[in-house]
Chain length 244, copies 2
DNA sequence: AAGTAAATTTAGGCATGCCGAAAAAATGGA
DNA sequence: TCCATTTTTTCGGCATGCCTAAATTTACTT
């Protein structure tokens, strides 16, 4: 039995703020393996540091997080289950907005951010069914299953790859809408092939051959873009199954 | 120019509570023509009378309502525009839940009640387009247009009609989910024909011939049901156009 | 016209979640 | 090691919106 199915009523009890904190704590460690500090949380949530202190105490009281004074924050199993449920909601809603309501890539984030706190479990289930139970959202992020399992593809940020590497884009961080619009006009999208050519001598920009299979181009990408694009290397696929 | 198009940013500023109060004030006078008292508001909103006093003062400060102490509450033009926008949201969302996500009649109200405060104007517009700009929700209630106009069909509660009257059902109040389920099992629905036969001597129940065109039956309906069913009389249709 | 019952308002409080300012603890450089 | 900077926490406060209990006003009855 998964942790989520056991406490389904619990979800509806937690406030939107609690849900937000837990989700941000979780997503801060989704693509890199460091624990998150209170000040990082404050920055991501757009609140003062002192607000985080208070809220983290509440999360600990609720059994969702563990925290020692002056230390980073971590989720408990229950906290992680709640976070996965929220991530699932968020990404299903984003997928719906794009596929059913014709939203553009860069428009969906804020709307989903609000709706994820409001829709019922029933709504989420029916939405998932209507969308044929997708496993990736429009940005390529994995959508956790209802039982809390996630397939995390092995991926690296484009900026971290050495020249010569080839692969294809499996994830585009949705953190920066402006960047999403840039990629859109450059016609760079999910599943495009990439080859790392090398670094420009003085600019800090990375030269890559990129594009859909039929139209690869050489292009310079700045640090912003290479951090937002995640690449799966060519070769046999490693997928790791993460429980909650 | 409609009132709504002028202050579109205003909507997003009002809190969910303000939106709820304004909507309830409006819907209290939608199907009957009496002003609503604070205690009626309290009952409908599920809050204490004293909470209404405070909130009504706020509505007045916001320019959404007018109120003299110890008197009923009324909306200003701006308040009515906000209310119509909320009603539009609510009914479009209900329609979406039924048509696109397969919700049953009696399941949609609570979900819509929450979502109406959360979705953006963009969402509402695109949803309306996706549903082909419907003018009636699943209960037959009119959906205000984006510019705030509503077509209110001339209708009467079934319980108010004299024996011999014929017409068809154009609205079923969604206030009571249990009743909606009853009507569902009796296969009574929107657009069914009705003929009032007469009152049972001692029961208070009303005998009507009712049902879809191919299968009319005689049936006894209690006071609950006859108050929830709204009938348009046969004959030339009178529609009145209400501005906001 | 007076008295009682009902509706409404006032007053004081509570919970959530945010803030800024100031104190306390950790970190890093010389 | 010690001092300065940064991070985190504590403290007091504020806004929203709800509550109960106690006035106040209105409405009804006789």
């Amino acid at each position: 039995m998964s942790p989520m199915s056991r406490n389904s009523p619990a979800l509806s009890i937690k406030s939107a703020s609690v849900q937000d904190y837990v989700k941000v704590i979780y997503t801060s460690t989704e693509w890199q393996d460091q624990r998150v500090t209170p000040s990082q949380l404050a920055a991501r949530l757009g609140v003062a540091n002192s607000s985080v202190t208070g809220m983290v105490r509440k999360l600990v009281d609720l059994g969702l997080a563990v925290h020692q004074p002056y230390q980073p924050v971590e989720l408990t199993g229950e906290g992680k289950a709640l976070a996965l449920a929220m991530v699932r909601r968020h990404r299903l809603i984003e997928t719906f907005l794009v596929q059913e309501l014709g939203y553009a890539w860069d428009e969906v984030h804020d709307e989903a951010e609000l709706l994820e706190h409001t829709v019922s479990d029933t709504f989420v289930d029916r939405l998932s069914a209507k969308l044929r139970h997708p496993t990736r959202d429009p940005h390529g992020d994995p959508i956790p299953a209802a039982d809390g399992t996630v397939r995390m593809p092995a991926a690296h940020q484009l900026g971290e790859l050495d020249p010569g590497h080839t692969g294809h884009i499996i994830r585009i961080s949705d953190a920066n809408p402006e960047l999403l619009r840039f990629l859109s006009t450059e016609e760079i999208g999910l599943d495009d092939r990439v080859e790392v050519i090398g670094h420009r001598p003085f600019g800090g920009s990375l030269v890559v051959r990129i594009g859909s299979a039929d139209r690869p181009r050489e292009i310079d990408l700045g640090q912003e873009a290479t951090a937002a694009l995640w690449v799966a290397s060519d070769g046999p696929h490693e997928n790791c199954l993460l429980g909650s």
